[in-house]
């Protein structure tokens, strides 16, 4: 049997496709279902695909989102505090050295 050749002018078909609106919502856990089916096919998704999948399914959950933001908040506070403490020690040490240099001729810079 010979296949019907597509029309030489695809424009009406394209217009029809553009007008087509999907109104039916996706069933719950659609993405998970798709990934399960992909799993069943035995095709291993790439690490990037897996990460994207995990992010798009797990992160929007309220508990995970709150935990993620909390962890970054705590990490930011801890890193800021530690960095500030080190910087304070360094700056105060520098000022102490400046005081010593201002009273000890043997430690004046450039002597």
């Amino acid at each position: 049997m010979e296949l019907e050749r597509p029309s030489e002018n695809p424009e009406p078909f394209r217009t029809l496709l553009r007008e087509w609106k999907v109104t039916t919502p996706l069933p719950p856990r659609f993405a998970e279902g798709v990934w399960r089916r992909i799993d069943r096919t035995g095709v291993k998704p790439s690490l990037w695909d897996a990460l994207q999948h995990w992010l798009s399914t797990a992160l929007p959950r309220a508990a995970v989102a709150v935990a993620y933001v909390t962890v970054l908040l705590v990490a930011g506070v801890a890193a800021g505090y530690m960095q500030a403490r080190n910087e304070t020690v360094r700056l105060k040490g520098e000022l102490g050295t400046r005081y010593v240099q201002s009273v000890d001729p043997y430690q004046k810079p450039g002597l």
Partner: protein
Amino acid sequence: MKSATVILTVGLVVGASAFCGFYYLGTASPRELAKAQTPELAWLKSEFNLTDAELAGITKLHEAYQPHCEEMCRRINAQNKRLKLLLAATNQMTAEIEVAIAENAKLRGECQRDMLAHFLEVSRTMPPEQGKRYSTWIQERTVLPAFGMSREK
């Protein structure tokens, strides 16, 4: 994926803001000291918990000591230059080098004596406990021989 991207971004912004905020607040005190007219004296006030009156007294002593300190610097520089010239001119121990070394040692002793007198005067201007702490701290860094070695103990 759009909501995940928003959450990812919010998390990163929250973390970065927390870091910057804590860093800024945590370094406020030393930044304030560094902005002072005489940062080293502002540091002294903060380090030894001095009152404004005590700092005013120490500033007076510090300013009075500065011309003498600069004169000592000038003399040390001159002595060092002289010794350098003598050392460059020979590969033998000469009587002149011996004299120059002895003069250097004498000058160091004189300098240490005057420094110590100034430090003791400053320490007396502080409350007794802080004065004692200041004396120990400054002596370890100036007049005590090989202070670097003794500090490591």
